[in-house]
């Protein structure tokens, strides 16, 4: 079967049904290994003590919040340029997951910040840019929820997603620049630019685990969305048939 065949939603559903159990298993196993490493193997940081354990979830959430947006941007291209029938389903389903992960990056960051920096929140470059990203997710969700026709909603949010991509580096860059003007950045740096393997390995495993989780939830959400659209179509058919 060629890749293009997966464009057919029915085939896609069949494929998902086959993949999901494996994906579930892999996710659970990776999480088990990762968490074991984090809680029973990884050392405490000499500066931060045990709070460094927050890193193992904070950083994957932060990475995934951006990865998820890029997934949506790629899907947006698929919607606008190639008009791939699954692209907008993918984009729509990624948004809530991205929003949740971004929220968790913010929350775990705040929870880490309180003991480390002594404050829950500062208007610093990185923090603010993540907050803006969170807002963009919510805006996209609101747009998708508000426009009734799924196709039109998909195209509108695809345009917005792509415009937002252009903005992300600008936000980061300009905020850095703005920050130096007023107060020195309090951005945390690991002692040295490289992380010790005893921390890096668990971190990477956790990152893989969260990525698998993302794919898992995403595929299930896509399946729901495809069915939802079928239901919508059938109700419209019912409507037309009733005349």
């Amino acid at each position: 079967m060629r890749l293009i065949d997966y464009a057919n939603p029915t085939r896609f559903l069949g494929l998902v049904a086959k993949i999901l159990p494996w994906l579930a298993g892999a996710t659970i196993v990776t999480f088990a290994v990762g968490l074991w490493l984090v809680f029973f193997r990884a050392p405490a940081d000499y500066q931060q003590g045990e709070t460094v354990k927050i890193m193992y979830i904070h950083v994957p959430f932060a990475w995934l919040s951006m990865f998820c947006y890029m997934t949506m941007a790629a899907s947006a291209l698929g919607t606008l340029v190639w008009r791939h029938p699954l692209a907008d389903v993918s984009a729509k389903c990624a948004a809530p997951i991205g929003a949740a992960f971004t929220f968790l990056a913010l929350a775990t960051g705040s929870l880490w910040g309180k003991p480390m920096w002594g404050t829950w929140w500062v208007w610093d470059a990185r923090l603010t840019s993540v907050l803006v990203l969170f807002i963009m997710y919510l805006g996209l969700i609101a747009l998708q929820e508000t426009i009734e026709d799924p196709l039109r909603a998909a195209k509108a949010s695809a345009v917005l997603t792509l415009v937002g991509v252009v903005n992300i580096p600008i936000i980061k860059f300009s905020v850095d620049w703005w920050n130096t003007l007023h107060q020195p950045a309090s951005v945390f740096r690991m002692g040295g630019s490289t992380i010790d393997a005893s921390m890096l390995v668990p971190l990477l495993i956790m990152a893989v685990a969260f990525s698998l989780l993302f794919v898992w939830i995403h595929l299930m959400a896509m399946r729901n969305e495809i069915i939802r659209r079928r239901i919508r179509t059938m109700r419209m058919i019912e409507a037309a048939g009733a005349e």
């Binding site: 805006g139 920050n179 007023h182 107060q183």
Partner: protein, 222 residues
């Protein structure tokens, strides 16, 4: 009575179904609060001082943004004509529409404001005071805004002047709202005096708004 309940329910549904309506107001509020530090700079002290004003400005804008078509949509689809032919007095209809709109848009703002106040680094007492003033003051904004919304339905050519008259009506509400919230901060002045005036303004707007808006709407069909 039944008619007005039905109206309230419908308006509420409409407000909420536009993209999770209630959340939208709160989200907008969050964005305003996010944008301010970009402008003013990240000085937490300064932020906490202008906090109440920013929250109030955000509330005013959120009200204006969501209000301006309160009646226009009904006029455009002909619903206003039918409402005029109903047995409920137009003043009460306007009142109910405003209440539903406030419940769906204003109330979430009030509820979200303590959280956002934390972002602005405001102190607990200032947070409490600001939230309280918003609770009392946002309905007044809605009722005053309703006059403007009704006028935009009727305005043809000459009526521009009227629009100019409406927005300034919100200025007293804003001023007393912000000053009673900040009174707590500086302590120079008692909280209760401006707050009492704010409450009085709110009651006044609750009468004036529906009466004036209804008067404007009656001429909308002509």
């Amino acid at each position: 009575m039944n008619a007005l309940l039905a109206l309230f329910a419908r308006e509420w549904k409409l407000a909420v179904r536009v993209g999770g309506g209630a959340l939208m107001g709160a989200l907008f509020f969050l964005i305003v609060v996010t944008v301010v530090p970009f402008g003013v700079g990240p000085d937490l002290n300064l932020l906490s001082r202008i906090g109440p004003a920013i929250l109030w400005i955000g509330a005013l804008l959120a009200t204006l943004l969501s209000l301006d078509r309160l009646f226009q949509v009904d006029r455009d689809d002909g619903g206003l004509d039918l409402i005029l032919m109903g047995e409920s007095p137009l003043e009460l209809v306007v009142l109910v529409k405003c209440l539903a709109h406030w419940a769906a848009t204003g109330l979430p703002l009030v509820i979200a404001s303590p959280l956002l106040a934390i972002f602005m680094n405001m102190e607990p007492i200032a947070i409490g005071a600001t939230t309280l003033t918003l609770l009392v003051g946002t309905p007044a904004l809605t009722f005053t805004g309703a006059i403007g919304a009704a006028l935009t339905v009727t305005l043809k050519r000459g009526g521009l002047l009227l629009a100019i008259l409406v927005l300034p009506l919100t200025v007293p509400v804003m001023i007393f709202g912000v000053s009673s919230a900040t009174a707590v901060l500086y302590g120079g002045m008692p909280f209760t005096t401006p707050f009492a005036i704010l409450a009085a303004l709110g009651l006044f707007a609750m009468v004036l708004g529906p009466v004036a808006a209804a008067a404007a709407l009656r001429h909308a069909g002509e």
